[in-house]
């Protein structure tokens, strides 16, 4: 007979069986049996104690995004669980594989409004890929295997396991379970060759093709397949924020970023191409602008693994369902080697116009306070354009996505869909565990930093080597920009009185420096990167710097403002 162990111990062994090596978490009443079991697994399951449960989920997201593995967070019931809600919703909309284990009161207490009881499955069902309550120790092995399978397969997403206390303490004979098939769920559809042939024909007949690259390429580990596809048929492309590192920034076919704060060329050409080929992206409103005028002249092909994305926002002419690693490889076999030289040349005037009117001014100012763009580009280059870019949300994010450069895949950690302020700092901590050999650069504003600033404690305790670049403009900058543009300069509660961030960082033992003058910037960045471990570099940024160009909300995507 196999030995009997507790459900909590079974969870540890099940997590190890799934290859988990890092957990981000915070203990509490209803998860104590599990934490007790964890005490004996410290060598294999590296538990990172965060300072707030929101930090645990964002750290798990950061870990997942740079490692391609499933991030794992563990918290207690009630407030512990509800504090993870933002991170779960964030992971859902940004397709991040994550398993969140929440403690729960014992089954006998369920529904009695017990201390720290909350209906976690009810709360998280609409914002998770799968949410399940483990009520018996016997179900641990199966539930964990199923959770990891669902989280990482198909279009990845967050899974919640609500772990009742009696299931943690109950005894069970443990056998690890394997789940690689669920009857009602098809995460790896067979490639439909008829669709592939149709797609190839449309591409071969196109004179002005344009490819939209989304995070699906990174999630499907199809970066090589994408390049082969683009290069064979000579297809220019633009990327979403989350798809930024799916193709190197300086690849000759990479025309830049799509959407509201993207580049002029890709947005204008979206409305001039004759064939739009969307790969692993979901036509978010920040990418499309006004749907009534979006790419109306073009035929559209949509490659995606999530069928529910087809025809959701934009009606398309052909859908190609499947993992783009397979579908791109298949379509590449059938497309003709082609040259679209004059079409690609057509992007140049827009690139030059944007460079003169916006980029040159953002990167090479000669007087006045520091600008976000110049700081970001200098950090990127000082890290040989090989760093991981983590951002918070707001101007820091838009500017980082515009001016950080990428040569390596899986290098973007940003809250794209949910736009979660406070995401950056804990996500960057997670990224240092997911990619310990890479330089993790966090760009964060003075607003967002304070939303999760308690995670300085986690950085201190772990020595997590996050290079924090604080772009401090004493404003909630992006809201202020919208107030300037659309609310007649009425700065309603966007100016911020800030604390002394250097002092705070130093209180946590994090080396810190403030740069005010341009002449000191290069040396300060070099010092930050040369200092082992974490570092806070505060940059005093021009207070009313704006992110340009911009397509105003609801406007046509090709009508970008280059100046205000």
């Amino acid at each position: 007979m196999t030995e009997k162990i507790t459900g909590a111990e079974a969870l540890m062994r099940a997590l190890e069986h799934e290859g988990v090596d890092v957990l981000f978490g915070y203990p509490g009443g209803s998860i104590m049996p599990t934490y007790d079991a964890l005490y004996d697994h410290k060598k294999t399951l590296n538990h990172i104690l965060v300072r707030h449960e929101q930090g645990a989920v964002h750290a798990a997201q950061g870990y997942a995004r740079v490692s391609g593995k499933v991030g794992c967070a563990i918290v207690t019931s009630g407030p512990g669980a509800t504090n993870t809600v933002t991170g779960i919703a964030d992971a859902m909309i940004d397709s991040t594989p994550m398993v969140v284990v929440c403690g729960q009161v014992g089954v006998a207490m369920l529904g009695t409004d017990a201390f720290q009881e909350v209906d976690v499955v009810g709360v998280t069902s609409p914002i998770s890929k799968w949410s399940y309550q483990i009520r018996r120790a016997e179900d641990v092995a199966w539930a964990v295997a199923r959770a990891f399978y669902i989280a990482k397969s198909g279009r990845p997403g967050p899974v919640v396991l609500d772990f009742a206390k009696n299931a943690q303490t109950g005894m069970v004979e443990f056998e690890p379970a394997e789940v690689d098939f669920i009857r009602s769920y098809d995460p790896d559809p067979d490639v439909n060759m008829a669709d592939i042939e149709r797609a190839a024909k449309m591409i071969n007949n196109s004179v002005k093709p344009f490819v939209l690259v989304g995070q699906g390429v990174e999630l499907g580990n199809a970066q090589k397949e994408l390049r082969a596809f683009l290069e064979k048929a000579d297809l220019p492309c633009g990327t979403t924020f989350l798809g930024l590192s799916a193709i190197p920034s300086d690849h000759p076919l990479n025309m830049g970023i799509l959407g509201m704060h993207g580049n002029l060329g890709p947005n204008v050409m979206t409305n001039q191409c004759d064939l739009l080929i969307a790969i692993g992206m979901r036509f978010d409103d920040r990418v499309t602008g006004n749907l009534a005028t979006y790419a109306k002249q073009a035929k559209i092909i949509h490659f995606d693994i999530d069928r529910a994305e087809f025809n959701k926002n934009v009606p398309v002419d052909l859908t190609v369902w499947g993992n783009c690693k397979k579908t791109l490889a298949a379509v590449t076999m059938l497309v003709d080697e082609a040259k679209h030289t004059s079409w690609i040349e057509g992007f140049k005037p827009y690139e030059e116009k944007e460079y003169t009117k916006v980029i040159d001014k953002a990167l090479h100012p000669t007087e006045g306070p520091l600008l976000m763009g110049e700081v970001i580009r200098k950090v990127s280059e000082a890290a040989n354009n090989e760093g991981i870019m983590v951002t918070d949300v707001g101007q820091n994010q838009l500017m980082a996505c515009r001016y950080f450069k990428f040569t390596q895949p899986l290098s973007v950690v940003t809250s794209g869909g949910l736009g979660t302020m406070g995401f950056g700092l804990p996500a960057a901590i997670g990224a240092t565990f997911g990619a310990p050999d890479r330089t993790v650069c966090l760009f964060v504003g003075d607003g967002g930093l304070q939303m999760t600033i308690q995670e300085f404690g986690t950085i201190m305790e772990q020595g997590a080597p996050v290079k924090i670049i604080l772009l401090n403009n004493n404003f909630l900058g992006n809201v202020r920009q919208w107030q300037e543009m659309f609310f007649a300069h009425r700065y309603s509660f966007t100016p911020m009185l800030n604390p002394n961030y250097e002092l705070i960082a130093k209180g946590y033992g994090i080396p810190a420096k403030t740069v005010i003058e341009r002449k000191d910037l290069d040396a300060a960045i070099a010092e930050m990167l040369a200092t082992p471990g974490p570092y806070l570099l505060q940059c005093a940024i021009k207070e009313e710097d704006n992110v340009l160009p911009m397509t105003p909300p609801g406007a046509n995507i090709d009508e970008m403002l280059l100046e205000i």
């Binding site: 499955v121 009810g122 069902s125 609409p126 890929k129 799968w130 949410s131 669902i150 690689d180 098939f181 669920i182 009857r183 009602s184 769920y185 098809d186 999530d306 069928r307 529910a308 087809f310 025809n311 959701k312």
Partner: protein
């Protein structure tokens, strides 16, 4: 003015028999501001599979989006939407009528028979009448009896229906999935 293209669609949804799915399915409608007109949930003829019959007014594009969002839930096997002409449809209603009024007014009994309704219980106080049919037949009887001032209680079930199609989509789907499971196992 934009043309109103909305009409009543019937959604037939099959899922695994797990708790919590009903709220996931209704949430898909709520989130997109589509009101559910009727809802019926029961075990289906396929072992282990539950059948949800939902009716709602929306346009075809929304019906398509609702269906794909429902099908995206992990434990949902299949979701399809239909118009009335693609289905055999039935509803049941029960009336509790005042027996004294019925005795005074013979037209009540006449109308019950005219609508092919059935009396299933009679006592001095009330009479229970059952009718099966489509929504319009049932509501027509209700309106008539209401005018005769004899209705004590009225209840109408949600729609139930089966498809007219000669293809059983669920069986086909399950056969394909089973073949894939076996292929995967052999690999």
């Amino acid at each position: 003015m934009e043309q109103d293209t909305s009409k009543l669609y019937t959604f037939l949804i099959y899922s695994e028999n797990v708790p919590g799915l009903l709220s996931q399915i209704t949430a898909v409608f709520t989130r997109r501001q589509v009101n559910i007109e009727s809802l019926n949930v029961c075990a289906s003829s396929t072992p282990g599979a539950h059948k949800y019959t939902v009716t709602a007014n929306c346009d075809e594009r929304m019906a398509r989006i609702l269906t794909s969002q429902i099908e995206k839930r992990i434990e949902v096997l299949q979701a399809h939407f239909y118009t009335d002409d693609e289905l055999f449809i039935n509803e049941t209603a029960l009336f509790k009528l005042s027996t004294p009024v019925m005795l005074k007014n013979p037209d009540v009994g006449r109308m019950v028979r005219f609508h092919n309704a059935r009396i299933i219980e009679v006592n001095n106080t009330y009479t229970v009448v059952e009718i099966t049919g489509i929504t319009n037949d049932i509501l027509s009887l209700f309106d008539t009896l209401k005018m005769m001032d004899c209705v004590l209680q009225f209840v109408r079930s949600g729609r139930i229906c089966i498809t007219k199609s000669r293809v059983e989509h669920l069986d086909e789907y399950l056969a394909v999935r089973e073949a894939k499971r076996i292929a995967q196992q052999e690999k």
